[in-house]
Amino acid sequence: MPSSIKPVTQPSASSLSQEPLLRVEDLKAYFFMDEGTVRAVDGVSFDVFPGKVVGIVGESGCGKSVTMKAILQILEPSAKIISGKVTLRSRFNSLDPDSPEELVELTGLHPDSRKIRKIRGSEIALIPQEPMAAFSPVYTVGNHIIETILLHQDVSKQEARQIAIDVFRSVGISMPEQRIDSYSWELSGGLRQRAIIAMALSCNPRLLIADEPTTAIDVTTQAQILKLLRKLQEERQTSIIFITHDLGVIAQMADEVVVMYLGMVMEKGPVHTIFKDAKHPYTQALLRSIPSVQSTPRLKLPTIAGSIAHPFNRPAGCPFHPRCKHFMRGVCDASQPALAPIAEGHFVSCFLYSSESMSPVATGRQAVPATENNP
């Protein structure tokens, strides 16, 4: 068994509550287009434990959003999940704190099936990347939220409205009774972001996926939103997958960190390990590119020498090798390093630490040119 699909931590007890809330194993999702195949997600594994925040970092285009869409099975029609398994501990009744649970394999469900639709929004909620577009411009924000509540809870329209107003208040929106009837384009950036968070929380999900929730807003508001998320997370013990370019935000928010590059996990581990003792050359480069804490304006995009490979033309071997300072000819470009444990809960995919490469089957698949569909 390739080590990349081992869980981060072995559950110490056999009881379900010690199991990860969400387990992603060797997930692969490709886009099949006329120009060729884009391997947007190419073998991603990580676990999310109850009440924990997993930060996912990586440069633009490394497949963070596609991974999330694949988990929720809301990929575009041109994309397919090639392999992998996503398992969720799902409550039978999301409103009951002692609700019995079952393990649901999300990858085994049809994308438009009733079962996965019930999970979306009520068990796993998404804070999408483009805050402007989360709401349709022709319906009020309240309309969207009430719609979601009615979909997942057995309440009347009046009650749903009251729930929406309450959740608006809990995310710090003043005058929630009025604001609920505004259109998204009437709200300021900060308020809109709060409304989106309110919508995501309206059905009491146990897992929140926040896809760069603060990129579109100014620094002050950004800090407020992060504080709010942290507060809500602590109050409700919600697990969060927090996606960002910004390692500074990761340091504030996350318990665990997953570093992605070209659709693959380069390194993952507890947040203090990653910041104190990063092993992978890519992670180290990312950390070096963060300006010191004193200099206020933080660069969103870390600058690392070289550019990201074209999605159709992925380097063979270690995906990072064209940019790596420690590149070893004949090793790093020959095969792909496996994600191997080097300490308790700390995994690295680099030949500097382990000679283990991907299993032959997987390597064989890697060798297929990315442009196989292109005549």
Partner: protein, 329 residues
């Protein structure tokens, strides 16, 4: 919003005045007048008028007056609600138009309903099942529909119905009902006939509307709020019906603007080819005979409906789209 509508309403008389001048100028433009064409008709049938009779008729019709006087007289009668006197029929134009307006409306509205009932679902299906066999088929049919002139389709259908079933599909009534007073049987007879012109008149519009609907919807289907909706647990069907369809309908509302005058004009060529007793042939005949007050009145009503239609479209759009509504307050 109210102020905006009021402004637009105040503009209507000004526009109507401008249009009336233009329409009158256009109807006047061909050489000769009603009498010249009347005399030509008479002489082709062998009879003729002497000079005195001609002068008398000229005076009676006001054709001896300068053009601007003729215009003023027409406008006066317009304002009195009479729309002037038809030179050919020697009856008030209002009556002539009123006789045909019922059938015109029935025909046009049925074509309109046919268009929407077919085009909207077909457009939605085509967009949501993009690049499937049925989508391709729809696209091909749409091209044919847009490219075929409707009088041609009329001729083909007429020939086909006649050669296959010995049926005459022209007109809106069977011979025995043509002059009969309205009765239940006559309505049934109308329904038996109306579907052919309905399809003929509605076809091009259906094809166009399907294409517009499909394109609008394809735009909307890729919007990020769709992803957000899916992530909240809405089913594809709920999602498509609530969000993109709602937005895709907006541009369709603007087509009402030009559809309203279309309805009134009664598809001139098709109606003539298929012998439908609506406004179309009346307008054609009045133009050929230089019955200028009748032609002018019909054209002016046409302009009026175009103005009203545009206004209705705007109001409808504002009502459908809150962004426009806010802008115009």
């Amino acid at each position: 919003m109210l102020r905006y509508i009021l402004q637009r309403l105040l503009l209507i008389p000004v526009l109507l005045f401008l249009f009336s001048v233009m329409v009158f100028a256009l109807v006047q433009a061909p050489p000769g007048d009603y009498l010249t064409s009347y005399i030509a008709t008479l002489s082709s049938s062998g009879s003729s008028l002497d000079q005195a009779e001609i002068e008398a008729l000229k005076a009676q019709f006001g054709l001896d007056q300068p053009v601007y006087i003729q215009y003023v007289r027409w406008i006066q009668s317009l304002l009195r609600g009479k729309l002037g006197l038809s030179l050919e029929y020697q009856r008030p134009n209002v009556e002539l138009i009123a006789e045909r307006i019922g059938l015109t409306l029935v025909l046009a509205l049925s074509a309109f309903v046919f268009t929407w009932i077919v085009a909207i679902p077909l457009g939605i299906y085509s967009a949501t099942h993009r690049n499937t066999l049925l989508d391709y088929l729809t696209t091909v049919l749409n091209y044919i529909g847009v490219a075929t002139p409707n009088f041609m389709l009329a001729l083909i259908l007429m020939w086909w119905a006649y050669s296959q079933f010995g049926l005459s599909v022209t007109g809106l009534f069977s011979r025995e009902f043509e002059q009969a007073p309205w009765s239940f049987a006559k309505v049934i007879d109308l329904l038996k006939h109306i579907w052919v012109p309905m399809i003929v008149i509605g076809m091009a519009g259906t094809a166009r509307l399907t294409r517009v609907m499909r394109a609008n919807l394809l735009d909307e289907l890729n919007k990020p709020y769709m992803t957000s909706g899916r992530a909240r647990g809405l089913s594809e069907w709920q999602l498509v019906m609530k969000y993109p369809v709602r937005l895709a309908i907006n541009p369709l509302a603007s087509t009402i603007g030009w559809y309203l005058p279309e309805i009134f004009s009664g598809s001139l060529i098709v109606a003539t080819v298929m012998n439908l007793q609506n406004i179309g042939p009346l307008l054609l005949r009045s133009l050929i005979n230089q019955d200028m007050y009748l032609a002018g009145s019909i054209l002016l009503i046409y302009c009026f409906l175009a103005i009203i239609g545009t206004l209705l479209s705007d109001i409808l759009l504002a009502w459908l789209d809150p962004r426009i509504r806010m802008e115009k307050t």
